[in-house]
């Protein structure tokens, strides 16, 4: 190796250990600061998140003249349709109305409730079952339960709604004397299986995860600073690197010394 290639040398494992040893105080300080900040956030600032779960069943009937595959596709499509409808704005509006009417919410809370129903509620299903799981998150278990139940019941009420004559405002009756549903193919297909309750509500305990992430972030920042310092250091700090670069021996390293009198 000659003097032209001094900057092509990489960082060795021993260099890394040395850099860590040399900067251990900085690593500890930054990591402790991040850990304390993460701990304060996790244990004091961040509120716990409660998740309430309500379950619904899709009552898809096998088609009479279709194959088994057609029946399966139909039930999957029906399940997915309900899944989409649960987060629909019409359902959310109905759910908000119900929450205001039946609970201690006021009109002023409407927008906040709609926002919570839109953002804090999620719906999941699997392709092998005909169940829909509605999960609602909130900082209180009571509210989480209310949100999950309200949106599920609102969905059922919307899809089961009867068709109304727009002029008279009366429910339309068919030839058999039965009321006609607004959404014929969806009506009576979605049933609440289990409402959300305290038994189905869990608390998301991620304080330790936040603390661990804060520690990792602290370590990453420390090592980032060390690496930047190392890479931006354009001087010789090791005998070996000088000797390798120029094939010239370091005959002695003159330590720093005290001044003083003769």
């Amino acid at each position: 190796m000659n003097e032209e290639t001094y900057n092509e040398q990489g960082i060795s494992l021993s260099d890394i250990f040395f850099l860590v040893k040399r900067n251990i105080l900085m690593i500890l300080i930054i990591t402790i600061i991040c850990a304390v900040a993460g701990g304060v956030y996790a244990f004091s600032i961040k509120k716990p998140v409660y998740t309430a779960i309500a379950t619904a069943v899709v009552q898809a009937e096998p088609t009479n003249n279709g194959s088994e595959a057609t029946s399966y596709s139909y039930s999957v499509a029906l399940t997915n349709t309900f899944k989409d409808l649960i987060k629909n704005i019409t359902v959310i509006n109905v759910a908000a109305d119900k929450l205001i009417e039946e609970n201690n919410y006021s009109e002023e809370d409407r927008n906040g409730l709609k926002s919570k129903l839109q953002n804090n509620v999620s719906v999941s299903s699997t392709t092998s079952t005909l169940t829909l799981t509605v999960s609602a998150n909130s900082t209180t278990p009571e509210e989480a339960i209310l949100l999950a139940n309200a949106i599920l019941k609102a969905t059922v009420s919307v899809v089961d709604k009867y068709a109304v004559n727009s002029e008279t405002g009366e429910v339309i009756i068919d030839t058999n004397g039965e009321p006609v549903h607004n959404y014929i193919i969806l009506a009576n297909k979605l049933k609440v299986f289990s409402e959300a309750s305290m038994d189905t509500t869990s608390i998301k305990n991620n304080k330790l995860v936040i603390l661990a992430v804060a520690i990792v972030v602290g370590l990453v920042i420390s090592f980032g600073i060390i690496l930047i310092k190392y890479l931006s250091d354009d001087t010789f700090t090791s005998k070996e690197s000088f000797e390798k670069a120029y094939n010239i021996n370091i005959l002695s390293s003159i330590h720093e010394a005290d001044g003083g009198n003769q």
């Binding site: 070996e240 120029y246 390293s253 003159i254 010394a257």
Partner: protein, 248 residues
Amino acid sequence: MMSIFSKKNKKLHRSESIVFGREGNEIVKEAYNRLKDNILYFAVDGTKKVIQVESSTAGEGKTTTVSNLGVSLGLSGKKVVIIDLDFRKARTHRSFEIENVDGLSDYMVGKVSKDEMIKQTKYENVSIINRGSEVTNASVILTSDKLKKLIEELKKDFDFILLDCPPVLLISDYIHISSLSDGVLFVVAYAQTKKKQVSEAISLMKNNNMNIIGAVFSFYDYKKSNNYNEYNYGYYNYYGYGDKNKKK
């Protein structure tokens, strides 16, 4: 803690840059003795006597190194003369508390004799030739036959001739001086001199076929170093030298 090399320590009396002859600084003394042993090994056949001390830039500790190396060699029984060839920034006389009069430049113009020019220092076996009067054209002196003849004569009288030179990257005198020397001792300010500067200086010297016998890290700080010298520091602390320094 004040460093003998420290740039913040300009007010420190120059005589204090020589660690020998006063208490403390055992680690530093040992480092100079190690350098001295390497120089003795280099000159083991007795034919290599003239050592040119160079650095890339100014303020890397050449004068301190050459002064302490000279004293260390003198303490080993070798007769040493240190010549200040940095005509623009003569400093060597300050290390030995000698006035910068009747020096090399005065000898070259015939103002003083050789014996008047060579001054014995208070350190055993160590003499010095200071610069003397200011010089406008150093290369005339450095390329003169009179200087070559002087060096040849000094070789007979002394075991080692140490040349304190100007920095390679600032002044091209090193080319002329190299024709007088047997080898170059290259001083690098540890964790201060840029790699690019070191590289350029070494390239310039190698391009002029100069014989670089080795290098010295000045301003060395074991805390910044990842090599065996850390062990040495612990060794000296173990034997109490480190503590002595702290007490100072």
